[in-house]
Symmetry: C2
Subunit: 547 residues, 2 copies
């Protein structure tokens, strides 16, 4: 039987192949990306989510390398989790490597990790795979796509991309490489579907530069530009504009400072030597001479902007006259929190500028016309949309049909689906575990659907706890304790709990054996529901005196 | 001292005056709207939210009337709560009245309520207020704005509005009335700010008709159009288009059926006699002969679309070949749930069409250019933006400045702020309670911030409960029970709970008095945090044997 190439998207919260992809040929493996996702609103208490890569564990020694396409959290954030289980060499461009190193250092794994640096355009071999890298434009510099030559054909992986003709770093996408791939013949294209439901073409980063410049021109007081800590190119834009307008730059937030430091060191962020100042220094300058870049665009209460909005920042204080720019989009699910922060900043007298008030942010991902352009540039035999929810992949699939890929050559699959390729065929194979794993505090994967369901119920209706001590006869109630949280305000519900206590007493008195605990629980659950139409979780403990 | 007119926005979840406004002159009151809001994502377990109108309670007998501007939940939903406390006559247009009656009937209050019907254009007197009503366009028919002549001047209240020149019901906005008001001189304009951060002009409902028509032309199988149950005009559009394309119409969902029935009876929905069929009949027709309108566009798991997505509807089943149209926008905070439903529908083989794939929904609220038009039509002396969060009101205030209202004549205020007017002055007065009240099950207002904080903590990290019985000596542990939910999977954490038990035993043995309960709680809280980096709520009960 001829050997087959296998491609498996793993992990991601409904987003296929976003955080991790695996390729296998002849029992040799490579991994592309090792990222995390942030929990959705109803995933109570979860810190973050990592790909479920347990399928790889018994193949760990056969993994030739881990290639990280760019430095965003959803492609780098799980690196310590992955390297703990799979000690393979890691390949990244300089900036991506710098950001990975910060994570490995924090996880005390920097010394033991084997890191290799490449530049966009470099090639290297990993087992049966020859990897050619090519520059792509995205909302962080130094991102790459991959052309992977395998024994059955050439696989092109787009990475996260947009076709920006006027990017901040002046490096347009590597169209020549894509055309060259097409000339050689591409077996399959794996392409970013994030914006597959957006018609048209994603605006260039220069649109943001113009909008920000207008904001700088009009602002009479201090400026605070909030953005993602990883959006190095946005920070570079702020530097350019601040220079034009004679403002000094201060950076607020640990991760952003860390990222600025790394990007500066690696040469991806160009800040004039006397321009960068500390927050303390910024506080002493006239407001119109200062711009502060800060984190917290997702409404996180503990990030800089959240602390400013609540008046809880150690050094900064939002004042009337300040202008705050939200230079980031709200990740779906965060809107309410973001809006609260904006409202609070207004309340404190700041002027807040956000999309759609002005185009102070553009997406880092391709829209429909760019997706079609990539498809037409690469002209693959098979097409697998990745990096998106099912709805995005479906839409990307429709776009591929529009540009002439036959429907049967397009595979819209979910995480954990094994795609098998020969020189002239694509088959949808078995399904392996490929979902996601919750990380909560120190626990990785110890929170399952059961615990989540309990959390949801506890959060919705609260808890009532009854603990009784009964006499040796089993029928006399010697001691009764009740407590409740998150159900009703106990202080206001004396009568309700008095009646509950009476029920417990009655049940104890007529106790017919060992089922007293269950009887109390069921009776009280019914009682509370009938009285309040709420369903608190009821816990009952019964102790029987022995002497 | 000259008497003053007072205007007070009440209630609403950060949205000022959205659910209720109060006007007072000479100790006589009128109420405008009595609506509810839906809880935000982190308001765990809350069913809905009503305005906090306790400030009105001792003035209940002085309320001349309650005017309801249109039939949406956020203007009608609290009517039973309000009428329970304030037995004033209610004024509404026929459709709005019909929708109010359904609520009053469900609350067994229909017989005791005093309802008055008016038509847009009618005038009536309520104490010192002469109320002139005028037709506005919105996403439900029969909405009105109000011109209220008071002893100190004319107050114009926009209601929820957009300037649609080609609305579904063929009734454009009453520009003549607005111009006439301007001629008489307007003291203050209160105007809808919902879309104040949207540049331009909200598209007409006809845009949706064109987009839907295209969907109908292309759909080969069954069509399911999901929208808001109150969006009567959208249902009318579907009726028009379905007739053109020879499809019969079935309605799924209790509220939508109820609304369709009321709107038909009142003459606001025109459905050909043989067109409306039951779901059972729809199931027997060829798929291409059927369109189903359904609720559930906000991702609610129990609404029709949610049940279809999860395969849990009693009569319907989504099949490959079906086309589902999401003809509604996602209310901020609902996006994740909406996206899950869309993904699931795709998974079941349906084709799903949603904005931005096609413009199958438009907003019912004015955008910036319309807001400016209203300001220029009415030319008020003072301006109070209402119906929006602070960010919207601020933005609306900027727009008003752009069209020439002096900043000192614009009042951006929060709920509960008393605005005082004379013929030539506006003063921001005292602040009265004017926030919101949680409704959870049968409880109205018994859930405060304390209970919400407990729910949040319970939901995030779960609960651990320890109940011990100690001997008469106070130091021997006779019985120990532990339980936990939402923290870790207890079955997987034997060792953790064994060690916790050991700690309890040690503390009991060295018990130095009555603080054992607190000691156990604090020690275990610390222990669990150190071991897991989670902070479950720890409850401890101690019973001491008496014999």
């Amino acid at each position: 039987m001829a050997k087959k190439l296998r491609i498996i998207p793993l992990g991601g919260l409904g987003e296929v192949g976003k955080n991790m992809m695996v390729m296998e040929y002849d029992d040799r493996y490579i991994i592309i990306d090792a990222g995390i996702m942030f929990p959705e609103n109803d995933m109570l208490g979860i810190d973050y989510i990592i790909p479920d890569f347990r399928w790889l564990l018994d193949k760990a020694h056969k993994v030739e390398g881990i290639i990280v396409t760019h430095g965003h959290e959803d492609h780098t954030g799980a690196i310590t989790h992955v390297l703990e289980a799979i000690r393979a060499p890691v390949y990244a461009t300089p900036l991506t490597r710098g950001l990975l190193e910060a994570k490995l250092k924090a996880g005390k794994m920097l010394d033991s990790a084997e890191l290799h640096t490449f530049n966009a355009g470099d090639s290297f071999r990993l087992g049966p795979f020859r990897v050619e890298t090519f520059h792509v434009c995205h909302s962080i510099p130094d991102g790459v796509g991959l052309g992977i030559t395998t024994p059955v054909g050439l696989v092109v992986h787009s990475g996260d991309f947009k076709f920006d003709h006027t990017p901040v770093d002046g490096r347009p996408p590597d169209f020549a490489k894509l055309a060259e791939f097409a000339g050689r013949g591409v077996l399959v294209l794996l392409s970013d579907s994030t914006n597959a439901d957006r018609p048209g073409w994603t605006p260039s980063e220069t649109v943001v530069e113009d909008a920000l410049d207008k904001v700088f021109r009009r602002a009479k007081g201090r400026l605070i530009v909030a953005t993602f800590a990883s959006l190095i190119s946005r920070i570079q834009q702020v530097v350019h504009i601040a220079r034009r307008h004679g403002r000094k730059l201060a950076v607020a937030g640990f991760t952003m400072n860390e990222n600025v430091r790394i990007a500066q060191k690696m040469g991806y962020l160009d800040i004039p030597p006397d321009m960068l100042i500390s927050l303390e220094e910024a506080d002493k300058l006239p407001p119109e001479k200062v711009v502060i870049v800060a984190t917290g665009t997702q409404g996180e209460p503990t990030a800089v902007l959240g602390r400013l909005a609540h008046g809880r920042h150690r050094l900064l204080d939002v004042k009337p006259g300040d202008t705050v720019v939200m230079s980031a989009h709200s990740i779906p699910g965060n809107e309410e929190m973001v809006h609260r922060i904006i409202n609070r900043l207004f309340q404190r007298g700041a002027h807040v500028i956000y999309d759609p008030i002005a185009p102070v942010h553009v997406s880092g991902h391709a829209s429909q016309e760019e997706m079609k352009l990539l498809l037409n540039l690469v002209r693959p035999k098979f097409f697998v949309p990745i990096h998106g929810e099912l709805r995005h992949l479906k839409q990307h699939g429709f776009l591929a049909q529009e540009v002439g890929i036959p429907p049967e050559n397009i595979a819209v699959v979910e995480n954990g689906t094994v795609l098998e390729f020969t020189r002239d065929s694509m088959t949808i194979g078995e399904r392996v575990p490929g979902g996601y794993v919750f990380v909560d505090g120190r626990g990785v994967g110890d929170i399952g659907p059961l615990v989540m369901r309990d959390r949801e119920r506890l959060g919705r209706d609260g808890v009532v706890i009854v603990s009784v001590m009964i006499g040796p006869d089993g029928r006399s109630l010697v001691d009764l304790d009740m407590d409740s949280k998150g159900f009703v305000l106990m202080e206001d519900a004396d009568e309700l709990f008095d009646r509950a206590g009476t029920l417990v007493r009655q049940l104890t008195r007529s106790n017919n054996g060992k089922r007293l605990q269950t009887q109390i629980r069921d009776t009280l659950s019914r009682f509370f529901y009938n009285e309040t139409k709420r369903r608190p979780m009821v816990f009952v403990f019964v102790h029987r005196q022995t002497v």
